[in-house]
């Protein structure tokens, strides 16, 4: 049989390639079934790096939807509370370049702020309680509301809904316990265009 096919080169070529294709296609189909993938664990890993303030400044209603969007290819520089550190960490995870923070979504805050309710002016309307994404405000209808400082993430979603505008965002006081040594200044610039000196100029 081989000889007959060998005598008709066109036919030989056709049969050879088609049969090879069929064999490999069959093998791949079998492998596709065996190695089926469910779900997307990448989203979990990206979500672990986000700061969980659930503030919505990235344009998504929470950190997990933004993590999902990053897994689908969205830009990684939309999170102001996370700042440049979070952008670098996500870039490291996904092996993509780390861009600067997208100012459109907000600026990176140097000092963390915590919400504070001026209790004299509070009318007990519960609008801020409904707005807080981590339930950090204690209170009930027609009763005093107050912010639980240890749970507040500083997302400032409660400031808008307050009808008497009695919520302030106060900076957290950094005492001796929170202090740590600052980075020493960079070494002297021998080359004007080196990375360290351009980072210093940008900073």
């Amino acid at each position: 049989m081989i000889d007959t096919i060998a005598q008709h080169p066109m036919l030989a070529a056709l049969i050879a390639l088609v049969s090879l294709g069929v064999i490999f296609g069959g093998l791949l189909g079998f492998a596709a079934e065996k190695f089926k993938v469910h779900g997307d664990p990448i989203v979990e890993q990206i979500d672990n790096l986000l700061p969980q303030t659930q503030c919505g400044q990235c344009g998504f209603p929470g950190c997990r939807p933004y993590a999902q969007s990053i897994a689908d290819g969205d830009a990684i520089n939309k999170c102001p509370p996370g700042g440049q550190n979070t952008i670098n960490a996500i870039a490291n995870l996904l092996d993509v370049p780390a861009p600067a923070l997208d100012e459109e979504h907000g600026e990176e805050e140097e000092i963390k702020t915590i919400a504070y309710i001026r209790e004299d002016e509070c009318i007990g309307c519960t609008k801020c309680i409904q707005a807080c994404p981590v339930d950090a405000i204690l209170g009930a209808a027609k009763l005093m509301h107050t912010v639980i400082v240890s749970e507040c993430t500083g997302c400032d979603l409660c400031v808008e809904p307050c009808p008497v505008d009695c919520i302030d965002m106060l900076p957290v006081v950094q005492g001796i316990v929170q202090w740590h040594w600052p980075t020493p200044p960079a070494t002297i610039d021998l080359i004007a265009t080196s990375k360290m000196s351009s980072q210093e100029d940008a900073a």
Partner: protein
């Protein structure tokens, strides 16, 4: 025994596929930014190379030669390579989604990696037997891994170093690759 040692030394060091024959430069430059992804990529490519060398030998011996279809070698080998790469892709996606994510488009691009096709075609043109072909394939993969891992380790250090701006990124990487290539050319005449 000695023959196998010669084949391995030849394909890993003397005729290194990346730095001496300049094949497979695309993943070499593209996946070498992080050590972990480089290790993953080199493992995948070695797997593909060995399997391809074996499969292409079988296809060549059993289908192409008897039917006198030598001129279809390139197409047939590409078919084999594509199937093997697709299989590798599915395997990696299942076992390590992060690696799959990190390799990104470079995983299916192993199909067009000229080193893989180069190994298959070189084996066929040199008329080697099955053992020798597979060893060449494995040696090519090992040589690729060696160079890729070394290069990515260097690139990681370069990323943290204080490089003048005009040289950052691809420029300093190319210079480094050139210097590595010079070093590997020193192996010529070893065997």
């Amino acid at each position: 025994m000695q023959e196998f040692a010669v084949i391995l030394v030849s394909s890993i060091l003397i005729n290194n596929y990346v730095l001496v024959q300049f094949l497979g430069l695309c993943p070499f430059m593209g996946v070498s930014k992080k050590l972990e992804s480089a290790i993953g990529m080199s493992a995948a490519t070695t797997f593909v190379l060995t399997l391809t060398a074996m499969a292409s030998y079988i296809v060549n011996e059993l289908v192409l030669m008897p039917l006198g279809l030598i001129y279809l070698r390139t197409i047939a080998f590409i078919l084999v390579i594509a199937a093997v790469v697709q299989f590798t892709k599915m395997f990696i996606e299942k076992t390590s989604p992060l690696l799959y994510r990190v390799l990104g488009v470079f995983l299916p691009l192993i199909t067009t990696n000229c080193a893989v096709l180069g190994v298959a075609l070189q084996n066929a043109s040199k008329d080697l037997n099955f053992m020798q072909s597979s060893l060449y394939g494995f040696g090519a993969g090992a040589g690729f891994s060696l160079v890729l891992i070394l290069f990515s380790a260097m690139r990681e250090r370069l990323a943290a170093a204080d490089i003048p701006q005009p040289f950052e990124g691809a420029a300093i990487a190319m210079i480094t690759a050139g210097l590595m290539s010079l070093a590997f050319m020193g192996f010529s005449g070893l065997v």
